[in-house]
């Protein structure tokens, strides 16, 4: 365990702007869960069980979940014992480092989109109802377009009323073609058409919107399997990225979502939406911990530009923003 990670978190000045966004996104109310960390640490006289209980409460309140919380707390106990840490203030860096390492799991996590070098890249968006799949597609389409890619959207949510219209609105806002059929059509046939069309028009990236489905609906999950198989057939492989869109307010059910969706189709990353509320979206840490699925993007607001690549440092910073605030202008003076 190095203290380096913690100071690194303070020193990288160039990130201040983006970090500010996370902070604004995640700290809109001071009542939010993990913002109590500083208070807990400064009001505790020594590192004892009462302090660990407080930390446990903070982690649970961020939806990190019982299992991962217990694991994190145990690691904190071990480290404090090994390093003979007695002053609660010293715990700050240990907590951040521990979370950091729990997330990385000793791997290099690269969440950049795996674009096809020559040819079409297909990105499939899946998830339960109401998590923000269509909105995330709109935002990502905008960013890809800005970076010079030619983007196409496929309206494979043929079930929900207004879903096709919603995607079309995004299409016209961003300025890209939307492939759709009438409501109630077979979603796989929409995907089939879209891939053919995208190939013939040399489109770079095809973003596929699917209907929200609860993971315990076997028939709907089979439908998703069929969509992925259609992609595999037309593309010669699975979609380069399949994102599970998870609402930050989601509790422990997020684990079940990640688990069952990845049983049907390999999930390459998570899009964590609505992080601009008071929810902390800690369930994604549990998902990473238990299923090794990384977080790829975060939704931080309602504007077209409010979708960012996930950055674990910024995320931890957002969780503990109050902790860093007192340390100077985002710690750049350390």
């Amino acid at each position: 365990m190095t203290m380096g990670l913690f100071s690194k978190l303070f020193s990288s000045k160039e990130k201040t702007a983006q970090r500010e966004k996370y902070k604004i996104g995640m700290m809109k109310t001071r009542k939010g869960a993990l913002s109590g960390l500083k208070e807990v640490l400064s009001s505790s006289k020594k590192v004892d069980e009462a302090l660990f209980d407080h930390l446990e409460e903070l982690f649970i309140m961020a939806d990190i979940g019982v299992n991962t919380t217990v694991k994190l707390i145990q690691q904190l106990r071990d480290v404090t014992k090994k390093q003979k840490i007695e002053d609660p203030r010293q715990l700050e860096s240990v907590i951040v480092d521990t979370m950091f390492e729990t997330y990385l799991k000793g791997q290099t996590v690269n969440t950049n989109i795996r674009f096809e070098k020559n040819g079409l890249t297909v990105i499939l968006f899946v998830g339960v109802n109401g998590t923000g799949k269509t909105t995330s597609i709109g935002k990502l389409a905008y960013q890809l377009k800005q970076s010079g890619k030619q983007v196409m959207l496929a309206a494979a949510d043929t079930f929900r009323a207004g879903a096709i219209d919603q995607l079309k609105v995004w299409g016209s806002r961003v300025g890209c073609e939307v492939i759709s059929k009438e409501a109630g059509s077979d979603p796989s046939s929409v995907v089939f058409d879209a891939i053919r069309k995208a190939k013939s028009q040399s489109v770079d990236v095809l973003l596929v919107d699917t209907a929200g489905r609860l993971q315990n609906k076997v028939n709907l999950m089979k439908e998703l399997d069929k969509i992925q198989r259609t992609i595999a057939k037309e593309l010669g492989k699975n979609a380069q990225e399949t994102y599970l869109v998870v609402d930050a307010t989601t509790g422990q059910n997020g684990l079940s979502q990640a688990k069952i969706f990845s049983e049907v189709t390999p999930i390459t990353g998570i899009v964590l939406t609505k992080l601009d509320g008071t929810a902390k979206g800690g369930i994604v840490l549990a998902i990473r911990d238990e299923l090794s699925i990384p977080i790829s993007f975060v939704g931080l607001g309602e504007k077209l530009t409010d979708l960012d690549y996930f950055d674990i440092e910024d995320y931890i910073y957002g969780l503990f923003a109050d902790l860093f605030e007192g340390e100077g202008s985002h710690g750049s003076n350390r």
Binding site: K28, T29, K31, G32, A33, E57, I60, M61, A62, D63, G65, V66, V128, N129, G130, T131, G132, G138, F159, R160, A161, G162, A163, D165, Q166, K168, V169, W170, R173, A183, L214, Q215, N216, K217, D247, A248, T249, T250, G251, Q252, N253, G254, S256, K274, D276, G277, T278, A279, K280, I283, E302
Partner: protein, 463 residues
């Protein structure tokens, strides 16, 4: 053989009678840890869990243990009872005007399911309460939200009032009310835009709409999968508006739905409906008493408790026990006992659930068929034989006849006879010994060890 397990069952029954009669702190603490974890995994808010378990702990202390349950199960029972009480004991109906136009406002975070639920609720009111319903599209922000409501309205044949996405929602609802009055509608459901509870501008808009419409019901739509944040969301909406009820959506998923409990405990707002599917008729009146057990989990324990409560007549059990102790236990009693057990369901299943039974050595050999066979044998006895077991003990002719009549072998009949005999003796002996010894016996401590513990010359019990 089944009989040995029956004996075990009696021992357990004795233990329940002579052992712990009330819950002590240890029992409660042990179970509370598990209950705490279970509630947290169900997404009940951390603070709510803490408060709740503290309250229940106090309630449970010294509580009498119900016959048929062990202390752990008794704690689960108390927790479940309290949860049910907290959730509310019955469904709370909508409070709509009997004359004039009633207004229902749908509010909530983005993606909670307001639009779908607005449609479902409209269909419900139209169908079950025969209301003349109109939907109002006041979500001008989300792309195609109006289209969505229009599509839903069309499917349900409910008119949708809309003015596109360029008009201020305050104006839209004002006009909508006028339109409803002219059109002879009596129920207006306003679909508002999803918003974060910390977005002041949009919250102000809701406050204004509530004022303009004098809404009869302000229904907060909450995703059943919501985690710890449910409390913040519900409190914020409730502070800004007078929320009259909640609708829990997506309850057909595999979530435990602890958010329901958090919201209820923190705001006191009742949950009135639950969304249970994607189709537009899939909205149900919410039954809080059913939700409690879903949140708590521990389904197997709860179903056992239910069965014990339903099926075991305490007096019956008591008189059985007295009979056994007096040594006058006969085949009629045995038959009654079998019935009691069968009423509670598959024998092997029930044994597993019973306290301490899991450790019984012959657990695996328990066979529901054995119970059938024993019953058949008893039923082949004459009434005299049943009430006076000695008759059978003395006559091999009787035993042969019973075997033939029941289709079982003579050996099996003999075994049953000797088992009843043994049991009678044992029960007689038991009734002569001290309660503490019985308790130790029942808890599975080997007798020899019990003797040693008591010291030389103080033991000498023979079983």
């Amino acid at each position: 053989m089944a009989f040995e397990n029956l004996t075990g069952r009696f021992q357990m029954a004795l233990r329940r009678l002579t052992g712990k009669a009330r819950l002590n702190e240890n029992d409660i603490d042990e179970m509370m840890r598990e209950i705490r974890l279970s509630l947290l995994e169900a997404d009940v808010n951390y603070k709510v869990v803490k408060e709740f378990t503290d309250e229940v702990k106090e309630l449970a202390f010294g509580e009498a243990i119900l016959k048929g349950l062990n202390p752990g199960q008794q704690v689960v029972k108390i927790v479940n009872d309290e949860l049910t009480k907290l959730m509310g004991s019955q469904a709370e109906p909508l409070k709509l005007k009997t004359s004039g136009i009633s207004v229902i406002m749908m509010v909530g975070l983005q993606g909670a399911g307001k639009t779908t639920t607005a449609g479902k609720l409209g269909a419900y009111l139209q169908k079950t309460l025969e209301k003349k319903v109109m939907l109002v599209a006041a979500d001008i922000y989300r792309p195609a939200a109006i289209d969505q409501l229009k599509t839903v309205g069309k499917q349900l044949e409910i008119p949708v009032y809309e003015e596109g996405d360029k008009v201020n929602p305050r104006t839209i609802v004002k006009n909508a009310l006028k339109f409803a009055k002219d059109g002879g509608f009596d129920t207006v459901i306003v679909d508002t835009a999803g918003r974060l509870h910390i977005n002041e501008t949009l919250m102000d808009e809701l406050i204004d709409i509530e004022k303009i419409t004098q809404a009869d019901e302000v229904l907060l739509t909450v995703d059943a999968m919501t985690g710890q944040d449910a409390v913040n969301v519900a409190s914020a909406f409730h502070e800004a508006l007078s929320v009259t009820g909640c609708i829990l959506t997506k309850l057909d998923g595999d979530t435990r739905g602890g958010a329901a409990l958090s919201i209820r405990k923190v705001t006191g707002v009742p949950i009135k409906f639950a969304g249970t599917g994607e189709k537009l008729h899939e909205l149900e009146v919410f039954h809080p008493e059913r939700m409690a057990s879903r949140i708590l989990g521990m389904g197997d324990v709860l179903s056992l408790i239910e069965k014990v409560e339903e099926e075991i007549d305490e007096d019956e059990a008591m008189s059985m026990m007295e009979k056994m102790m007096s040594g006058k236990f006969n085949y009629n009693d045995l038959l009654k006992q079998m019935k009691m057990i069968r009423r509670m369901g598959a024998f092997s299943g029930i044994l597993k659930m019973l306290p301490g039974m899991g450790q019984m050595a012959n657990m695996d050999k328990v066979d529901d068929k054995q119970i059938h066979y024993i019953e058949a044998i008893i039923r082949s006895m004459t009434p005299e034989e049943r009430s006076n077991p000695e008759l059978i003990e003395r006559s091999s002719g009787r035993r042969n006849r019973i075997a033939k009549g029941s289709g079982r072998s003579t050996t099996e009949v003999n075994r049953l006879v000797s088992t009843l005999e043994k049991q009678q003796k044992m029960m007689q002996q038991m009734s002569n010994i001290r309660p503490e010894t019985m308790e130790r016996m029942a808890s599975g401590t080997p007798v020899s060890q019990a003797k040693r513990n008591r010291g030389k010359g103080r033991g000498g019990y023979r079983f």
